[in-house]
Symmetry: C2
Subunit: 235 residues, 2 copies
């Protein structure tokens, strides 16, 4: 019954918040009048209210009203009763920490598995994977666990970035980091470039958008998959 959209980013360079994906969101959230927004990742540390306002402005273009989970007395009930859910980007550690703190991991998993349409972007996509161990974010808070929702049988690396061969900076490339990940973990990692997303319907996981994605499997050479590829075989 899953009906999920896992996007690399909320925003493409030069366009407005969620603009590039709004047509697809109108389909995902067809018939929905009110969306529950989880603003916990707080990009640049903005407040839950300020973040929800930005999201509301975007969704008003497809006639959907947005309510922040922080405005509910009981966030577990808010998730149980939601007609649709969106978790926005920001810091994955802050997001994960708040989800655990509010005891929302189990209920979120249950309602999404039972068919509540879900959108994640960036940090909100990271938590759809098995763990948050392939986030790009700074670990500014210490969450009780790195385990995530596991809505797909692999990890997500959003904002996937190809190595810049002209760089003189000696920090690791994204590919090096994911290679390091596979010294300690065996699950696949899907590197989603900005503008790409995964469409998850029941057991089908399909790459969408115009770009290829980079797949990292344990003990295999990384490879590219074109848009339209079915990824549910990854395990």
């Amino acid at each position: 019954m899953k009906n999920i959209l896992i996007a690399s980013t909320s925003t493409l360079h030069g366009s407005g918040y969620l603009d590039y994906i709004l047509d697809d969101l109108a389909i995902l959230f067809n018939g929905i009048e009110e969306l529950l927004f989880i603003p916990y990742a707080r990009p640049s540390g903005i407040s839950h209210d300020a973040y929800t306002k930005i999201v509301n402005a975007a969704f008003s273009k497809i006639n959907i009203n947005v309510k922040g989970i922080h405005t509910y007395k009981d966030p577990i009930d808010a998730i149980k009763n939601a007609k649709a859910i969106f978790t926005g980007g920001g810091n994955t550690f802050v997001l994960t920490n708040q989800l655990y703190k509010n005891n929302l991991i189990d209920v979120l998993l249950t309602v999404i598995k039972n068919g509540t349409p879900y959108l994640g972007t960036s940090a909100g996509s990271n938590i759809c994977g098995l763990t948050i161990k392939t986030t790009n974010d700074m670990p500014i808070v210490y969450p009780p666990s790195f385990n995530a929702l596991g809505l797909v049988p692999f990890n997500i690396n959003p904002h996937y970035l190809d190595p810049d061969k002209s760089s003189k900076h000696m920090g690791e490339t994204r590919e090096t980091r994911i290679k390091e990940f596979h010294n300690f973990n065996t699950q696949p990692v899907v590197g989603l470039r900005e503008g790409s997303w995964l469409e998850v319907k029941d057991n089908s996981i399909i790459l969408k958008g115009h770009l290829t994605a980079r797949v990292f499997e344990y003990n295999k050479t990384p490879y590219e998959v074109p848009s339209g590829t079915e990824l549910n075989h990854l395990k």
Copy 2:
């Protein structure tokens, strides 16, 4: 009695491992014949043996023999008896996890405070700060804590990178990440560019190298400090 060198990186683009700082290391480790190396951060996932070999090759140029801590039966004793210690770069989470696992945090802190000369580069520098919450690394393992040695009264951000204004990538800049850090933490952060290091002697902390460093204090506009600046007032 502290005698510490906290370097942003081990290697500058286009030169060999530790080459740029070797003259200063000859002073830091003056009279030392054998160095204890902590290879736990495992850059690119290389083995402890392979990593120690690289470090040994560099230190042989200043006539210092290098022994990896992994070759000792009792790593706590190895640290207690070490004449000098170097912790190399790689993944800060892997390094921190292994230090906790082997119960090395307390003993490391004790010997360094008592005067055992210490060199850290990259991940090995991150652990000199109050916490590892300003590392750039991917959280590929879950350490029991993000608390670090606290040899300086602030956090380190090694490989500090200025925002690339021409970039069309929508991931956060380093400055944005550190700003987010300060929504949840109040300690200062010193962004050390590649080629910079901190020289810590007793209570003096001086910025060295040719470049300025970027200092981020809670609720203040970030600012640059020139080489030679005394940083022990940061708190």
